[in-house]
């Protein structure tokens, strides 16, 4: 795409996000009366509760998770110079998986509170993020880190499969369900915290763009341009861990967004300039996940599809289509 078209496309994406968000907020809400409309005489405005407690958090987390996963995917793809990398390659989410798995499969919750699952997943991701950070201090080439991430994932899934084979059917079921991901668990009251965390992370990741641009040339060339690859890599790990921790905690693992969107963004915008790619990923990621959720919402009367089903179902053919049309990633 011609660079002069970038701004119009960003604006188009923003408008599209707005329209889909409005649709997802109000679709099929028959009894909706907005707060400012008169609802005296009745104590509970049911439509408004649905909007506030169900739809708003759902739309909100779609935007956050979509954008966050896409950005993390971009960070990983550039760090490893591999379009097949995604937010989960470092094995950060294995931490969430393991902790949630242990707590669900053994039936002994780490933290028995209303937010127990959220905290468990978050702590798991952070601990594993720290572990990987520790490894990264001993490692010169990023590609070794990719291998370590892979090993960590295999290791934790081995532990989990042992736990699975000896856990009760109910516990197993709840773990499998957690693994399917959900955009419907966030509560209105949590929006504030998530927003602030997300904004801080976004701001920090913007400081990585200079290094990412240089890393496209390879690690040696990046160092020759004054980029301390090791330090930048550590920053990327920290920020990715926090992003993944935040999103996995509230939504469980969401497949495919972090892998598809960065590739789409690169193909669509035809650039390696990460300042552009950053916003492209943020917007396309949000747009993509919102769209997936609209489909779930539309199909709800007929059948229920988990979010992970839809993201892969739409994402995979989309990438194939783009590759066929454009030839290059």
């Amino acid at each position: 795409m011609n660079p002069s078209l970038r701004m119009p496309i960003f604006i188009f994406l923003l408008i599209a996000i707005g329209i889909i968000a409005y649709f997802n907020l109000t679709y099929h809400l028959t009894e909706l009366r907005w707060l400012w409309e008169n609802n005296q005489g009745e104590q509970v405005n049911e439509g408004f509760i649905l909007l506030k407690e169900f739809r708003l958090p759902r739309v909100f987390i779609s935007i956050i998770a979509g954008g966050g996963l896409a950005i993390t995917g971009m960070l990983m793809q550039t760090l490893f110079q591999n379009p097949l990398a995604g937010p989960y390659v470092l094995g950060i989410n294995s931490g969430s998986n393991l902790f949630i798995g242990i707590s669900l499969l053994t039936g002994i919750p780490f933290l028995m509170s209303e937010y127990g699952m959220v905290l468990t997943a978050f702590i798991g991701a952070l601990l594993f993020g720290l572990l990987i950070l520790l490894f990264s201090t001993f490692i010169k080439k990023s590609i070794s880190l990719l291998l370590i991430g892979l090993m960590i994932s295999s290791f934790t899934s081995a532990i989990l499969s042992i736990l699975e084979s000896s856990s009760s059917a109910n516990n197993l079921k709840s773990f499998v369900i957690w693994g399917m991901g959900s955009l419907q668990k966030v509560e209105f009251a949590q929006i504030g915290f998530i927003t602030i965390t997300f904004l801080i992370l976004t701001l920090f990741s913007l400081t990585l763009m200079k290094a990412l641009n240089a890393l496209v040339l390879g690690e040696t060339s990046a160092s020759a341009l004054g980029i301390s690859v090791k330090r930048e890599r550590q920053k990327i790990i920290v920020i990715s861990s926090l992003f993944i921790g935040l999103i996995t905690a509230y939504c469980g693992p969401i497949a495919f967004v972090g892998l598809t969107v960065p590739n789409l963004a690169r193909i669509l915008f035809k650039t390696q300039n990460h300042q552009v790619l950053f916003f492209a990923n943020l917007l396309i990621g949000s747009f993509f996940l919102l769209l997936c959720d609209s489909i779930i919402l539309l199909l709800e009367p007929y059948t229920a599809i988990p979010i992970n089903g839809i993201t892969s179902l739409i994402g995979a053919p989309m990438v194939i289509l783009f590759i066929l049309k454009n030839g290059r990633i």
């Binding site: 200079k210 060339s221 020759a224 004054g226 980029i227 301390s228 650039t271 390696q272 300042q275």
Partner: protein
């Protein structure tokens, strides 16, 4: 640029140099047998490989004390492989040379844009600047890497085998370009090469690696070509003629 009593190689030192001084405004080829340490030498000076002893001084500043970013303002390094990048335009690629000068968020300023534009003009890349790197020929790609090194605004530019992927005509042209640019911009170009005939024709001063003593030496190739080649390649090339 002054190299003083350097010992290359981090854990196993295998290349040394005495006191060597280079003036800006010239291009110097670096020759040596395969595996003698040409790349190690270039990378060490660029600060990509730590060295165990000695000093590198550019414009009266010792490089060892500089951070990676400060160092990259003194030395530009161009690796031997041409850029293999998809979806990147020529001007975007050249702009990466400004990385050491950019702020926290990495945005290009007016001044950066001007420097980039000048480099593009200087190397005649204007018709290509909106094209994608992967669409260019090897010669054009090499010009782009050179442009990137130029915008880095460093007094010293190191190039690892810049002519390896070029055809004969382009090899001549790029070496010619090094000489001219060095003079015009008052920079020091050091580039490694295997092209002895070309060097012999175009240059007088060369850097070579004496394989018997593992030592980096500056010599005059037009005066004692055979001696230099013998030391650099450990055999008497003259006897083959």
């Amino acid at each position: 640029m002054i190299l003083n009593n350097l010992q290359f190689g981090y854990q196993v030192p295998y290349l040394t140099s005495d006191f060597l001084e280079f003036n800006l405004g010239q291009a110097i080829p670096l020759i040596g047998a395969n595996g003698a340490g040409k790349s190690t030498f270039l990378k060490t000076i660029a600060g990509l490989i730590p060295h165990s002893k000695g000093e590198i001084i550019i414009e009266n500043q010792s490089l060892t004390k500089l951070s990676l970013q400060e160092r990259s303002k003194k030395i530009a390094y161009v690796p031997s492989t041409p850029p293999l990048i998809d979806q990147m335009r020529v001007n975007e690629y050249i702009a990466l040379g400004r990385t050491p000068f950019l702020g926290l968020f990495g945005n290009l300023q007016q001044k950066d844009e001007e420097i980039i534009e000048q480099a593009i003009l200087k190397l005649g890349l204007t018709p290509y600047k909106e094209r994608f790197i992967h669409e260019l020929s090897d010669g054009e790609k090499q010009l782009c890497t050179l442009a990137k090194a130029l915008v880095q605004d460093a007094p010293v530019i190191l190039l690892d085998e810049p002519s390896a992927f070029l055809d004969y005509a382009n090899r001549n042209r790029i070496v010619e370009l090094f000489k001219n640019l060095a003079k015009q911009e008052n920079k020091l170009f050091i580039f490694s090469t295997h092209d002895i005939d070309l060097i012999d024709r175009e240059f007088q001063e060369v850097l070579y690696i004496d394989v018997t003593e593992n030592k980096l030496i500056k010599g005059n190739i037009s005066l004692n070509k055979d001696a230099i080649l013998e030391k650099a390649f450990n055999r008497n090339l003259g006897s083959f003629h």
